[in-house]
């Protein structure tokens, strides 16, 4: 006899007063999660007044949370008609110390990591130089596909010297690699140098990410070292630019991304 007349309702739970995170950030994150869950694109989100009533927060706080989501590109204002979910990217990852899993779950989505390939190979000269090992030393080459809610988002190509973590050959890598390295192998990656560039997807990358040959993707290259400065891993992370963006919080005194230099890519063997 139940008539399931089920619409999307915009219920937001109460904001946790014990959480030290600023209120507008809590609301922003909750709103983001709600939107990622699925809110019809043609439907304006509830008015400020309704959001205030739902959350018990002030108009200023509600406005600030919404303004941030507009700035992020998750919402767009259509003056007169309301505020809507923006057409473009709905997925956001934050850089920092959170794992992929944590970042995705924070949005209310389901992260899945698939190990595409794991093999024991011999380091080529470029890899050996970066990792400060002998050319020809054994390394693990791990290829993993990260999906969010069933859709491919990132493919990782990671190289870790066997001597750093011999048991990687048989480890469960569907979770956080960093947590495994820190926990089971006792070599937590401590600091890293990362670069970000735009490249055209091709071959295996394009296939795994399910994008057309030549589609733009982000490429993050990382060299991570232990607290004693020992290189632990190098990774090339190809990211679907339509599904992710990276956000950096520049703390007090460091506003703006510093341009350190311009790489002449002809000089360097980046393979």
């Amino acid at each position: 006899m139940a008539l399931s007349n089920d619409f999307h309702s915009f219920e937001l739970g109460p904001i946790d007063p014990a959480d030290p995170t600023p209120l507008y950030q809590q609301l922003r994150d909750r709103l983001r999660g709600k939107l990622v869950e699925g809110w019809p694109k043609e439907r304006p989100i509830p008015s400020e007044r309704v959001l205030m009533q739902m959350t018990g927060l002030s108009r200023m706080t509600v406005r600030q949370a919404i303004a941030e989501l507009v700035h992020e590109g998750m919402l767009r204002r259509d003056h007169g008609r309301g505020t809507f979910v923006a057409d473009s990217r709905v997925m956001r990852l934050l850089t920092g110390h959170s794992t992929f899993r944590d970042a995705v779950q924070k949005l209310g989505s389901t992260p899945v990591t698939q190990v595409i390939r794991r093999e024991r190979i011999f380091a080529n000269p470029a890899q050996a130089t970066l990792l400060q090992i002998e050319p020809g030393e054994a390394v693990f080459n791990i290829v993993r596909l990260r999906k969010v809610d069933g859709q491919p988002v990132i493919v990782d190509f990671t190289i870790v010297p066997e001597r750093i973590c011999p048991c990687l050959g048989s480890a469960d890598l569907t979770g956080s690699l960093y947590e495994y390295l820190a926990g089971t192998c006792g070599v937590p990656p401590d600091h890293s140098t990362d670069t970000i560039e735009a490249v055209a997807a091709s071959g295996e990358v394009g296939e795994l990410l399910e994008v057309e040959e030549g589609a733009p993707v982000l490429l993050l290259r990382r060299l991570a070292r232990s607290v004693h400065d020992v290189p632990i891993e190098i990774t090339e992370e190809f990211v679907r630019s339509d599904r992710c963006l990276y956000q950096l919080e520049n703390p007090s005194g460091t506003a703006g991304i510093a341009l350190v230099g311009i790489l002449d890519t002809n000089l360097e063997d980046r393979s």
Partner: protein, 254 residues
């Protein structure tokens, strides 16, 4: 009376809702005490024409409604202990059984407002539970809280009590009190009952925008007398046309 097969839903959406979404969320209300038989018949025809979820009619009109709505996709609903909620539990149960025996599949009952405000929650609960029990397997029970007379705490208590007693819906108002559906009340109600208890907003929903606003906060049924205005406005907006003019006589009540 035309059958369900002959009803054609307008195409187009408004805010992502189809015509069917909106129409099937409306309980067309025919509860004013002064309505003549002809006015009730006209209202029943309107309900079928616009293909709403149900009609909520006065107890004496249930046999008529059952007859005229048979073969349509519009359900027959009626009221119990309406509008004051002060009838004895026994009377409410008899009302419920009579309505169901005459064909009602939905019962909008008013809880005992005075007892709630007196803090006699056990009584309020058993009063609701008796109607729920009588309706088991036969009709949906919507419990009217009448928020106009309640504090926020009382709205919360009433909602929880209605849920515990087995009500299928909690409903804001009879439409005959000074105020009706208020968004802040609905938010409280939604937060106070489990997910399987649904929300009905009634009283003062006279436009499509008012209906859309309450749908956002979790309402899945709206009691309205302005059904024609709401759905005509939907059709116009879905077709990209200007809204039809509001009725000349805007009445203040439900």
């Amino acid at each position: 009376m035309s059958s369900a097969a002959s009803v054609e839903w307008p195409t187009g959406t408004v805010n992502g809702y189809s015509y069917r979404d909106i129409a099937k969320a409306i309980d067309h209300s025919l509860l004013k005490p002064e309505l003549t038989e002809q006015e009730v018949e006209a209202g029943l025809q309107l309900a079928v024409l616009y293909d709403v979820a149900s009609v909520c009619c006065r107890p004496c009109d249930v046999p008529l409604a059952s007859r005229l709505l048979s073969g349509s996709d519009v359900r027959v609903g009626s009221t119990v202990g309406f509008p004051h909620g002060a009838n004895t539990t026994e009377t409410k149960v008899v009302e419920a059984v009579q309505a169901m025996d005459s064909g009602a599949a939905e019962l909008d009952m008013v809880l005992n407002i005075g007892q709630l405000r007196s803090g006699n929650i056990d009584f309020v609960r058993s009063d609701i539970a008796a109607v729920v029990e009588a309706a088991r397997g036969r009709a949906l029970v919507k419990v009217i809280l009448e928020n106009a007379y309640l504090t926020e705490d009382q709205t919360v208590t009433a909602s929880k009590t209605a849920a515990v007693a087995g009500g299928n819906f909690v409903k804001t108002s009879t439409g005959f009190a000074p105020t009706g559906a208020v968004v802040s009340d609905l938010i409280l109600m939604r937060a106070s009952v489990p997910p399987d208890v649904r929300l009905k907003a009634a009283g003062g929903i006279r436009s499509l925008d008012a209906m859309l606003e309450v749908l956002d906060v979790g309402v899945t049924r709206v009691g309205a007398t302005a059904t024609q205005q709401i759905l005509d406005e939907f059709k116009a907006r879905a077709a990209g046309l200007p809204a039809p003019p509001p009725p000349v006589e805007a009445s203040d009540d439900y």
